[in-house]
Symmetry: C2
Subunit: 323 residues, 2 copies
């Protein structure tokens, strides 16, 4: 039996057929910008599903479930996408419309979830975690998250729970695009790290950094260049990293104080350089958590490999029906 997963991202809509061992056996994608409105989106998804099944010679009776990861708030009762900023969707009767066009024998097999929840489901199931309480924190341009409790994903009333990036850790801090100030992702996302580095480079001390000889604009600065500077022993880069790790620890400590998960995993591009900071980060967290005197506490680890491939969104969507 197979499952079909679709991950609706800001750039691509990626879809795949997933087998019993959680491998993608067929994959297709289209550009999100080619889809102009909800009705085009629904048609495009039905088309993707049809094309995938034809290519892989998978018949409806061989499909256990179809799942769609949507970047927005959802209403499980009405099957509506309540709000999806990146897609410009508001109160779209998503599930019902997709069911109407998806083809015979498939309508009853369709599920949806928030994209970050789907990714957490994918990581949790494919990673084989036995943790009863599991938190995944994904550090990219922003910071997202997913939480599994007692084998169920934490969805909240509108499927948009675990929005860790928009937890303020500094109520009079920098302006956040969400309208508040000092959100966790403003400091601890990959973007936050690059902003921190760029600001530091533009001080008299920072001008001496090897970063300043390699990069002449904020756009040229990226994680690869930054972590190379740290590896080369650049003093300024190392100080920036220390400051960044403090911010990251503050958000992680908050989340541990709130969930006390058995396991908290970190994923996203930043974790490729985790050898440079994971030990220090763990020490800061161990020192700061409220339950630090307890002999039982959260284990912090990197997400297992599969989350790096970008396929976790597809696999997770395919597995929504399980959780």
């Amino acid at each position: 039996m197979f499952r079909i997963g679709i991950d609706i991202g800001g750039t691509n809509i990626a879809a795949g057929i997933v087998d019993e061992s959680y491998k993608i056996v067929e994959k297709k994608s289209i550009k999100t910008k080619d889809v102009q409105d909800p009705s085009q989106m629904i048609k495009a998804l039905a088309e993707l599903i049809k094309n995938l099944m034809e290519s892989a010679l998978v018949k409806p009776e061989m499909v256990t479930a179809i799942g769609v990861g949507v970047p927005g708030t959802l209403d499980p009762e009405s099957g509506k996408v309540l709000y999806a900023n990146n897609l410009g969707f508001e109160d779209v009767p998503f599930l019902n419309e997709l069911k109407a066009v998806v083809g015979e024998g498939l309508a009853d097999k369709i599920y949806f979830d928030n994209d970050a929840n789907a990714a957490a489901i994918g990581e949790y199931i494919t990673g084989g975690y036995s943790a009863k309480n599991f938190v995944m924190m994904t550090i990219g341009t922003g910071i997202g998250g997913g939480v599994i409790i007692n084998g169920k994903v934490l969805r909240g009333c509108n499927y948009a729970a675990a929005e860790f990036g928009h937890m303020t850790i500094n109520f009079d801090g920098v302006d956040c695009n969400c309208g508040r100030k000092g959100c966790f992702e403003d400091y601890a996302s990959a973007e936050g790290l690059m902003n921190l580095a760029w600001d530091a480079m533009n001080t008299s001390e920072g001008a001496k950094s090897c970063l300043s000889s390699k990069v002449s604009s904020r756009e040229e600065l990226n994680g690869e260049i930054f972590f190379e500077a740290v590896r080369s022993g650049d003093k300024v880069a190392k100080e920036i990293l220390s400051e960044y790790i403090f911010y990251l620890s503050e958000g992680i400590i908050n989340i541990i104080n709130i969930f006390q998960p058995d396991v908290l995993t970190l994923s996203g591009g930043i974790t490729k350089a985790a050898d440079l900071y994971l030990d220090d980060l763990k020490k800061l967290v161990a020192k700061g958590i409220y339950s630090r005197n307890s002999s039982k506490n959260t284990e912090i680890m990197l997400s297992k490999g599969i989350s790096d491939s970008g396929d976790i969104g597809i696999i997770g969507a395919a597995l929504i029906y399980k959780m």
Copy 2:
């Protein structure tokens, strides 16, 4: 049938027999300071249970469950209290020892949980909430919380989840007793409000407040006096309240972004004056939450009456076995 609930607090150990309609039919308490160590505590609890049952003429076969709310981290597998700062307990084999002395026919009926979790269970069950996702926030000297998801209390790996008070909302803010800076409870607890008021009173503007004529030391200042000043229209007191509501909203918005609960209830002494600020608080929260464009969001309300009586700890402990 009856349940027995015991709430171990910093001042009193309160115990009661709770009937099928969640009423306390018999109640006894002892002073926490009269119990010097874990073995005295275990003996005292067994004694309380025995005395309660004798007074109420309740026999072991009439008891469904006995629950103990403990202020600390717990290990469900070993039945140990891992750490309880207020009691000076560390790695105490609490459940096993209590089972050994509790008397015939009762040992298999004993449960424990963190005291804040027990209170949330009590509020949730006795309040008759139908919310799938439920958050209780208790604003007292500190800020505590409890979370119910899909009919189960969120315990975390050591039963100390939902420690909302120790979520930093200002990483370079005031020093917190937990060792970090700028924790939610430093700003938004009853204590936080009183500190805010006292600081404001000690400015040239604040000296004009009616508070300054009523109170001459920090110790004399209390919620009753403060809210009376607000009701009388005192400008300084009203400004302090506005600032306080901002801090409270910042923590509540964080918690909503993280849990997206159907319902978030507020309890604790501060809520007695909620008529003065609840509407403004709700407006700030509605404006700040990340999902504000979604048509489905968290309902904020005051905890139902029962939580004011102090009995909620006993009733909640008696109901631990249900969740």
